[in-house]
Amino acid sequence: MAGSKGYSFFVTFLISIAVLILIITVSSGMGYIQVPFDKVSRIIFSLSGLAEFSENDLFKTIVLDVRLPRIITSVIVGGGLAVSGAVFQGILLNPLADPYTLGVSAGAAFGACIAILFPVIAGTYSIPVFAFAGAISTLFFVIYLSKSSGRISSNSLILSGIIVAAILAAGISFLKYTADDEVAVIIFWLMGSFVSKTWMDAAVAGSIVFTGILITIFYSRDLNLISLGEKSAASLGVDTSKVTLILLITASIMTAICVSVSGIIGFVGLLVPHIVRIITGPDNKKLIPISFLFGAALLLVADTVTRAVLPHEIPIGVLTALIGGPFFCYIFKKNRIERGIS
């Protein structure tokens, strides 16, 4: 669990942070108006208060007020989804679980549809607030469904999640059917986007995601033991029911805030922990921090591609699924062949 690989983990961690900062800086310069790399770095560095940047106010506005909020939001969402994915895979003892397995995304989508169709509460935040409420109520209903005599088993959680998600999907179809012009808004929301994200979005998502990561790291060794199965973990001193519930709620709230900020973005939560496990091994103490950095970098690159490279912006959820899906198939097959599992 530790020891010989400790040093290489630290190096991996530092390199990942450096790469993420580099990608943030490069992508801040990319877009309709190109900002040179040295200027971007100095503008970002000026945030620390150690230096000032006053040569070009246009560049400063573009980087600090337009691009960085969107970039930081995508970093937080990408990292948050990746960490939730790793946690869900650990709790559900299933490497194919993802943050959406328990129907959290369907709940968020349903909530968002309601907010779009019935704009009772005015204001820009009605969609994320409804999406978050939908996601959280779905989670608790799924936990309630799967609980029997005080215990939560991973199989019943997966089943309950699938059932509830299917019902909500039908509900979403019905809402789309009854909607008129709003259909386009619903479909656009469902495909995910970071367009016009603000510092407010980044701050709200960031505070929840970082709290969540601290909690998951605190329980990371227990999570390792839970993957041995509930009974074995219990015999090794893990209060499995308590830890499972805490991690389940933490990961779901992280997912819910990500979905409500950005819409549904698939494959990050499934793909990233898989790739990172190849580098760090399955130990969650290493897997969780590296997954955050890797997920953050991946989603930021994807968002920068759709924002600044492609001639037209396409929804980020579509892009991650189109690239992530086939790539996942490749990794999955290659890994199984190498390990000799058929």
Binding site: M1, R221, G229, S235, L236, R277, P282
Partner: protein
């Protein structure tokens, strides 16, 4: 001898099906107990209640004079180690990682394994004959090899009580004997207590000091092996005819069965 576990009028049901019926028994420290009984007689459920994993519907279990429910999971994990059968895991930990997990109860949160933990793990790996695949991934091992790793993990946990739920049923005869000897040695030298569900009556006869017979959730017999291992008990519990004789080579009573055709 001191009573380590005291079970008093235990009852347990899954839904409406009664699994354990009014079980009362005492487990002494420093002894090797075997639990025998037909499939579905409640053996594993009894172990789950003894370890505190399941709560009985009525009745009480005390461990070291204190109700088992009053012990925290963490405290119990320093006292009681468990080996289950059919261990399966989806994540590619190395064999050494898994054995090290047995030290979890002894390592503080966020601390790294101490010198002593590393030494115990290396020691256990050597003694349990899993050294040659200690760096391989657990997901790539055969069922029997995986079982040996799980057994090693429980031995590395270094507890005064060891619970074995058909822990050797996947092992070849060489490793079955190796592990049973290893455990018996700890009973003798370190005064640990073993409670084992065993299907193989002759294996139980070789290694156990006490036998517990269960049938349909009822306690049918409990006592010193030589007192309760009789043809009439086996007939009553398993409904098979046997001839039981002292066997010099194995140093214990051994049971021979008759084929019907």
């Amino acid at each position: 001898m001191e009573n380590l576990f005291k079970l008093n009028n235990l009852n347990f049901s899954y839904d409406k099906r009664k699994v354990l019926n009014n079980i009362s028994l005492n487990i002494e420290q420093g002894s090797f107990y075997g639990i025998l009984g037909p499939n579905g007689s409640g053996k594993s459920t009894l172990l789950d209640i003894i370890t505190g994993y399941l709560r009985p519907a009525s009745g009480s279990v005390s461990f070291k004079g204190r109700d088992i429910g009053k012990w925290s999971k963490k405290e119990l994990s320093k006292e009681i180690g468990v080996v289950l059968q059919n261990f399966y895991i989806n994540f590619g930990y190395t064999v050494k990682d898994i054995v090290m997990m047995g030290r979890h109860p002894h390592i503080k949160k966020f601390a790294n394994p101490a010198e002593q933990d590393l030494r115990i793990v290396d020691d256990t790996i050597r003694k349990t004959d899993i050294e040659k695949f200690k760096d391989r991934l657990i997901t790539n091992l055969s069922g029997g090899e995986r079982q040996r790793v799980v057994f090693a993990r429980a031995l590395a946990q270094d507890t005064k009580v060891l619970i074995l739920d058909e822990a050797t049923s996947n092992l070849d005869i060489n490793h079955t004997l190796k592990f049973m000897n290893l455990v018996s040695e700890r009973v003798k030298n370190k005064n640990i207590t073993v409670i084992a569900v065993i299907q193989d009556i002759n294996l139980a006869a070789m290694f156990c000091d006490h036998l517990i017979f269960l049938k349909d959730g009822n306690l049918k017999a409990i006592g010193k092996k030589d007192d309760v291992l009789s043809s009439s008990n086996i007939k009553e519990i398993f409904n098979v005819d046997t001839n039981i004789e002292e066997n010099i080579y194995s140093g214990s009573k051994q049971v021979a069965f008759k084929r019907s055709i």
